[in-house]
């Protein structure tokens, strides 16, 4: 094929936007003298239909094989003109743009200077255009399945949406049951819906959905591959209970020698469970799990004469020989919905959380007021003879949020409302209770939030603006030292119970998923979305999406909305069945590559591997780009000493002539 460059140069007036400052005719005349330029035209609006038609006609009639458009920023219209080229049957990557508007006519006043600069920019574009090569956007097939990591409400919702659309979902949950944080809640703000009542049907749906494979009590160990083709390795931990045989009857737990002696994680360690346990009554799957760190038989090899659970189980489901199982499968997309941990108030010792039993966190109170909680929903502190019902109750907000001293600058978004909700519930449950809330600000921004905040204040809950400095014990009472900043009065408030409205933090093991999926963290340490505005559920890794609090604190409706967004983003890929990969990616000249691995180290996407190849019978290793993973940043090309790695459309041999033109031409 005769591929001698025949370049068309199109100089845009952009009305008067360019033409006012740049002598478009002079630029046109200049361009006509440049090497390989066959056609030069100027036109009022190149991006208009007639403007584009000019280009199309010239390509077709004059046989142009490269196009330079001197107009606005390529960030504005590069795609427009690429389509123009494609419509005329020319490879869209034979386009080069000269930005003579944003970076020339709009920023310069002197017509001669601006015209001279425009000429230079056009010349640089022409020399690059001469060297452009056709690029093709390849497509790869998408494995019609999705992995959802985390079985909280975000993961559940995302899994259900994808499964309902007809695609296979692997839902991986690290604890024995799905449900997540929401299952621990009693009521939800501001509507006071029963959390369990709205959540459990969805949990059951997950368990029963033909398209969902629930891998509870499991961890993702490894994910390799790229968008459309992720290979996943999951470790299913041994439950020591054969889930096929277990009927969930619970006799094992009743019989367990440690029944009622192990703090229940679900009840924030306030309730007790056995070594074989169901985390909570509505758990899904409704299968028992033996806690390998507690079970006498598993830790000591001996449990009385014989393990009572095994003896009692009628279906013979107890199996102490069970081993972890590695499950491997392929998916096209991944949704990360790993949720949050609550702030550990022990990091703010002035609040005495570690010292005083009647200083609680919000989530602990949540369990206390829950009918399924350790007290059956009664607000009672202490045990046995010491049990008492607190009357003077204070809430402290922003514990571990908006607090640089603990490294959390952000607002946790839910504490204001859950405080209002809990205050309301406590007052409802403790007749005559005297409830107050210490706050910095009240952020009641969501639908129905302000109304609810109003309601609880009308119910008699006092809001006192002040950030307590210290809590200490005086007799039976806790004393809160605080300044009422509205009244400018120092207070010492004596109360029976303090509830700390702890904020939300990234999971303590968040790093694991970062390493597995090459995600990034934002400054708040939550997972970083691809764009804070326009790609809030995407990540820098194509095909990997975020849902729920893993990305940042949010309430249930926002979480569900984001989960649905993530599911929808995943479905776009899954349902199209194909994914287009970048065209302007890197490639390696394997003949000159010395396999030093700098590019491999540098690539932020893990898109380059060293592979063994045979060079004239000699084994050598060379870098190879995984085209589906490469995002076209070109960092590898700059790192390559031998120039063996190059980025398409930004090759050294395309950039050097640009430098020459800009340097030499005065």
């Amino acid at each position: 094929m005769n591929n001698k460059p025949k370049i068309g140069v199109y100089v845009c007036h952009c009305g008067i936007n360019i033409a006012k400052t740049v002598d478009v005719e002079a630029v046109t005349e200049f361009a006509s003298r440049l090497p390989n330029v066959k056609v030069v035209r100027n036109y009022a609006y190149m991006c208009s239909d007639p403007g584009q038609l000019l280009i199309r006609e010239d390509i077709e009639k004059e046989g142009l094989n490269r196009v330079v458009v001197a107009s606005c920023s390529p960030r504005m219209h590069e795609n427009t003109f690429r389509k123009t080229l494609a419509a005329a049957g020319l490879n869209p990557y034979y386009l080069e743009m000269a930005n003579i508007r944003e970076q020339c006519s709009w920023v310069h006043e002197d017509r001669d200077e601006a015209t001279a600069k425009a000429k230079k920019l056009v010349y640089a574009a022409v020399v690059k255009a001469r060297l452009l090569e056709p690029l093709y956007e390849k497509e790869v097939d998408v494995e019609p399945a999705s992995l959802v990591i985390g079985g909280g409400i975000a993961g559940i919702q995302a899994a259900l949406d994808i499964a309902n659309a007809g695609f296979k979902v692997y839902l991986v949950e690290k604890t024995p049951s799905v449900g997540g944080r929401m299952s621990q809640l009693d009521k939800t703000f501001p509507t006071l819906d029963c959390s369990a009542c709205i959540l459990t049907p969805k949990m059951v749906d997950v368990a029963n959905h033909p398209n969902i494979e629930l891998l509870a009590y499991s961890r993702v160990e490894e994910i390799s591959g790229y968008v459309g083709n992720f290979a996943v390795k999951v470790r299913k931990r041994a439950r020591y209970v054969d889930v096929d045989k277990c009927t969930g009857c619970g006799i094992c737990a009743q019989e367990c020698r440690l029944a009622g002696r192990i703090p229940s994680e679900f009840d924030m360690n306030m309730g007790k469970r056995a070594a074989v346990y169901l985390p909570f009554p509505q758990a899904v799957p409704a299968k028992y799990t033996i806690d390998p760190e507690r079970c006498l038989f598993l830790t000591r090899g001996k449990c009385g004469k014989s393990p009572k659970c095994a003896d009692a189980c009628a279906s013979g489901a107890i199996n102490f020989e069970q081993q972890d199982e590695i499950v491997e499968f392929k998916v096209g997309t991944v949704i990360v919905a790993t949720g949050f941990d609550t702030f550990d108030p022990a990091r703010k010792p002035e609040y005495g959380y570690s010292d005083y039993a009647n200083v609680l966190t919000g989530l602990e109170l949540e369990r206390l007021v829950s009918a399924s909680g350790p007290t059956g929903g009664a607000v009672v502190l202490g045990e046995g003879e010491n049990a008492f019902v607190p009357k003077d109750i204070a809430f402290i907000k922003c514990v571990g949020s908006r607090d640089k001293s603990v490294g959390n600058e952000y607002c946790s978004r839910v504490c204001c409302m859950y405080t209002a909700k809990l205050a309301h519930l406590v007052q409802e449950k403790v007749p005559g209770a005297n409830v107050r809330v210490y706050y910095m600000d009240v952020r009641a921004f969501g639908k129905g939030f302000e109304e609810f905040y109003d309601r609880v204040r009308r119910e008699g809950i006092r809001y006192i603006r002040g950030n307590p400095s210290e809590i200490f014990k005086r007799g039976d009472k806790l004393v809160i030292k605080v300044e009422d900043t509205l009244a400018a009065t120092p207070l010492e408030d004596e109360v029976d119970m303090v509830v700390l409205a702890v904020g939300l933090e990234p999971r303590k093991d968040a790093r694991e998923i970062i390493d597995i999926l090459r995600l990034s963290q934002s400054a708040d340490r939550f997972y970083l979305e691809a764009h804070p505005k326009l790609a809030p559920v995407d990540t820098a890794t194509d095909g990997v999406f975020l849902a729920g609090c893993a990305q940042g604190p949010k309430d249930i409706p926002d979480t569900v909305a984001q989960a649905k967004g993530a599911a929808s983003s995943a479905l776009v890929l899954l349902s199209s069945g194909k994914v287009k990969i970048q065209a302007q990616i890197s490639f390696v000249n394997e003949n000159t590559c010395r396999g030093c691995g700098y590019c491999v180290e540098i690539c932020p996407y893990g898109a380059i591997d060293l592979v063994a190849v045979n060079r004239m019978g000699n084994p050598v290793q060379v870098a190879r780009v995984n085209e589906a993973l490469c995002k076209g940043c070109g960092a590898c090309a700059a790192a390559c000493f031998s120039g063996s790695v190059q980025q398409k459309s930004f090759m050294d041999r395309q950039i050097l002539p640009q430098i020459a033109v800009l340097g030499v031409m005065k």
């Binding site: 019978g617 790192a639 031998s642």
Partner: protein, 327 residues
């Protein structure tokens, strides 16, 4: 005292191994104070091995310089190891080559030779001009003893050691499969005085210093070819498309060549000084390399060629790297 007979014995044993292709060491040169790389393929050839203050060549360069011929179809490539004698500085080259995967650890058998410094041939030949007869040398106590035809001459080693040896901080090999000779106490420290001296001048003074040097460069590429870290088979500076550096030999192109060469060694140069040693027109190349070594040490607390597990400087970063000059 260096027990050369012991070295020969080690070499004989090494080349007798089934998994060793050949051993690279040093031998007496053809005249005067010269020595030469010596490729030992058979136990007999080990007889000519020496190890002395004259053994300046960094033999690690041959690990990557070796030209692999096409292997005829049906035959297996020779995967036997190359055995190599290394001084402290040379061993850093091997370490850095391992990091950059130019060579595999199992493809090389490293015999470490703790070193008390090698001579700068230019200093020695100036001291004893016109030496035709072959001369050997040994290390004395803080001296170098030259076995001249008319008797031994002992010279304080400060007078004849190579510049790199005067500031040497790594006289003992950092990596070896086998050690020959006793560990040597570190004597040197490096304050980069040579670099700082030049830095102190004005830009004009610095350029006039370098202009003269770069202008005299003939682009024989010996500095590049001898460098154990310049292992690209196709050097980017030899390319015609794109042509980074014109073939024309003049100050501008020579400067671009030297800047590119030096930059490509930033965070990689292990300061064996071979580039400067081989330069036929005596360009102080190490002054360039050492500038970058200094910056790399000061700014990133990094030294190449020390730890085979470390990441290359230019392929890593810290979010809080200094950036005082950035607008």
């Amino acid at each position: 005292m260096v027990d050369v007979e012991k070295l020969k014995e080690i070499a004989r044993e090494t080349v007798s191994r089934d998994d060793v292709k050949y051993l690279i060491g040093w031998r007496q040169g053809t005249y005067g104070f010269r020595t030469a790389p010596h490729f030992v393929g058979t136990p007999e050839e080990a007889d000519n091995l020496i190890f002395s203050p004259l053994c300046s060549h960094n033999l690690a360069t041959y690990l990557t310089l070796v030209e692999k011929l096409p292997v005829p179809r049906g035959q297996d490539p020779d995967s036997r190891k190359v055995a190599l004698l290394v001084k402290g500085c040379d061993s850093r080259a091997v370490v850095q080559q391992l990091i950059e995967q130019g060579i595999g650890r199992d493809s090389v058998f490293v015999i470490g030779c703790p070193c008390r410094g090698v001579v700068d041939l230019k200093k020695v030949e100036a001291k004893f001009p016109g030496m035709r007869e072959k001369v050997s040398a040994t290390w004395g106590n803080g001296t170098i003893i030259f076995n001249l035809p008319n008797g031994n001459v002992e010279v304080p080693r400060q007078e004849v050691l190579a510049g790199k040896c005067l500031t040497c901080r790594y006289p003992n090999p950092l990596l070896s499969d086998l050690n020959f000779g006793e560990e040597v106490a570190v004597w040197g420290s490096d304050d980069y005085a040579d670099v700082k001296n030049l830095e102190a001048g004005s830009p004009q003074e610095r350029w006039s210093f370098w202009e003269e040097k770069f202008a005299s460069c003939m682009r024989c590429y010996s500095c590049r070819n001898v460098c154990p870290m310049c292992y690209c088979e196709d050097c980017v500076l030899d390319r015609l498309n794109p042509q980074w550096v014109m073939r024309s030999v003049n100050t501008a192109e020579n400067t671009a060549f030297h800047l590119a060469r030096a930059f490509h060694l930033a965070g990689r140069c292990i300061e064996c000084g071979e580039c400067e040693r081989v330069c036929p027109v005596d360009i102080p190349i190490m002054k360039l390399n050492r500038k970058l070594s200094k910056e790399v040490r000061e700014k990133y607390a990094f030294e190449p060629g020390l730890d085979p597990e470390s990441k290359p400087l230019q392929a890593s970063y810290r979010p809080d790297d200094k950036e005082d000059f950035i607008l």
